[in-house]
């Protein structure tokens, strides 16, 4: 470990690893992580769990979450040892952030390192029409985040010229400089029950990565 002037700022960093594909193990040495409330399944060593009000974003975040409906109950796990997190046997995906932002549905965010900042972000009317809500959770900073997905998430790259269209129910998260637009394939045939079954699609353009899960949440657009 390098020693120097900034030594006192070097703090132990929680180590994220997967225990199997459905359990997240975090090795901690006195530091803390933010995790979804009640997602701890086991721990070794000394751990303290504290519920954070308003998604752990402070007072302003609390108000924002109340207003936006992007509800997230978060706890802080702090201590020494290994803590195991899981959520209803869904697959856990680790995402490394290096300063960029990760946009994720609150339902799919399992755990974040304490160095990451979480907040809410406005997705526009697109989100509402696709049944995902008007707002999404934004995770920023440097560190590890763990996402859950129903079935292992597939990571798809979006570049200029190759836009990606995603079923809103299969969307989990995205990173990078992407803009999302709602594409509607609905026409008059949808109204008479002869629709294409994929009436709502979210189009991602720009540069970035999109995480999709091999299953579909029940959304408004899912079965039209």
């Amino acid at each position: 470990m390098p020693r120097g002037r900034h030594d006192r700022y070097i703090r132990p960093v929680a180590q994220f690893r997967l225990q199997g594909s459905r359990v997240l193990a975090v090795d901690m040495a006195g530091d803390s992580v933010k995790a979804r409330n009640g997602s701890m399944v086991a721990y070794t060593g000394q751990m303290n769990f504290k519920k954070l009000t308003g998604g752990g974003d402070g007072l302003r975040g609390m108000v924002a979450r109340r207003l936006t409906g992007e509800q997230m109950t978060v706890m802080e796990a702090k201590g020494q040892g290994t803590c195991y997190f899981a959520d209803q046997a869904t697959e856990v995906n680790l995402v490394r952030l290096n300063g960029e932002a990760l946009y994720v549905e609150a339902d799919n965010l399992l755990c974040t390192e304490a160095t990451l900042h979480t907040g809410t972000s406005f997705t526009g009317l697109n989100g509402m029409a696709s049944g995902n809500g008007l707002f999404t959770t934004k995770v920023e900073g440097t560190g590890w985040a763990a996402l859950t997905s129903n079935g292992p998430a597939i990571i798809l790259r979006v570049t200029q010229g190759t836009p990606l269209r995603v079923d809103p129910g299969a969307y989990v998260a995205h990173t990078g400089n992407l803009s999302r637009h709602l594409k509607s394939g609905a026409g008059w045939t949808t109204l008479i029950g002869e629709g294409g079954g994929e009436a709502m699609q979210v189009e991602f353009t720009g540069e970035g990565l999109v995480y999709v899960q091999p299953s579909e949440k029940a959304t408004f657009g899912g079965d039209v």
């Binding site: 079935g151 597939i154 995603v166 394939g185 079954g197 299953s215």
Partner: protein, 320 residues
């Protein structure tokens, strides 16, 4: 990104697969797991990739990222998602698309422009309403509630599958309603994608299978019910059957398959929600055609009241 892709998630869900470090979807392994016994029977699903990719660790290589070109061509991305290299029309069940690259249009079946195409692939307009045509060019990702997906190749063959399990098929195949209610039959040459709860196993008849584990069958001429009636023999057995005293194992009823072919089984007894296969005309002699059943021989048949025992069957049971 290279093909075959590494698994972006932790370990393979099928830990018993032998490690196969170089080519997860190698032809060799494919051959080992399956020896065709006759032409025209379906190819088994691809074996899932063994655990080659290490868990993405801090400081490691990280998970695999796919783009429009590195997605597999008509193959599984992982056991739960299937990538179709679309070039032309393709039929899929409503709501099974999770993502796509390229220019693809989804239209409900029953519209004028594709009516002619429809004729070759569907026989009943009612069940055609559950299907969607994807047209265009691009890569299409299919998935169904994180169930295992497999693709099957039919070569001038036929395969009957539970209606809820069929996901997508090439237009070179014709989809027909099976005589057996709740099942669909695919006839012809081409590829289709079906879901199952857990990996699919291929077994050869003669075999008796649990009704909930059955996914489908190919070429078998005689699928029939089978009941273990030995536990009903004698007076004690009769009382047991009528009153439920003494219990039953729950496995007295099976499906029996006789004849040449293959039977597809899933590795769990959890069923997928059934899709409507379309109505059949109310015609005499058509199973499930809405024609009232023949009264039991000996004339009047009492309604079966659960809990009281099947008193209505009593006469038939004792040959009266």
């Amino acid at each position: 990104m290279s093909y075959p892709p590494q698994q972006p998630y932790g370990q393979s869900p099928y830990g018993q697969q032998p490690p196969h470090p170089q080519q997860p979807y190698s032809a060799q392994q494919y051959q080992q797991s399956y020896q065709p016994t006759q032409p025209g029977i379906p190819m088994p699903p691809m074996p899932p990739a063994p655990p080659t990719a290490p868990t993405p660790q801090p400081g490691g290589n990280g998970p695999v990222v796919y783009d429009a070109h590195s997605l597999p061509v008509n193959d599984n991305v992982n056991p739960y998602a299937f990538s179709v290299d679309l070039n032309g029309p393709y039929y899929l069940q409503k709501g099974k698309m999770i993502a796509y690259y390229g220019d693809i249009r989804f239209s409900g079946i029953g519209r004028g422009a594709i009516d002619r195409l429809l004729e070759q692939n569907f026989n009943s307009p009612l069940h055609a309403a559950d299907w969607v045509v994807a047209e265009g060019r691009g890569r299409l990702l299919l998935a169904d509630r994180a169930f295992d997906l497999n693709s099957y190749d039919l070569e001038n063959g036929n395969l009957t599958v539970r209606s809820g399990n069929l996901l997508a098929f090439e237009p070179t195949l014709a989809l027909k309603q099976s005589i057996i209610p709740g099942f669909l039959t695919l006839i012809g040459t081409g590829k289709f994608v079906a879901a199952s709860n857990g990996p699919v196993h291929f077994v050869e008849p003669p075999i008796r299978v649990d009704p909930q584990a059955l996914v489908g069958w190919a070429d078998c001429p005689a699928p029939c019910h089978h009941y273990d009636h030995s536990y009903l023999h004698g007076v004690i057995g009769g009382i047991r059957h009528l009153t439920g005293l003494g219990g039953a194992s729950g496995e007295e009823h099976q499906f029996e398959f006789i004849g040449a072919g293959q039977v597809l089984l899933q590795s769990s007894e959890k069923l997928m929600a059934e899709r409507s296969v379309g109505q059949v005309d109310a015609e005499e002699g058509v199973p499930g055609g809405g024609v009232p059943q023949q009264p039991g021989h000996g004339g009047q048949q009492l309604p079966n009241i659960p809990g009281l025992g099947n008193l209505g069957d009593l006469g038939r049971r004792f040959g009266l």
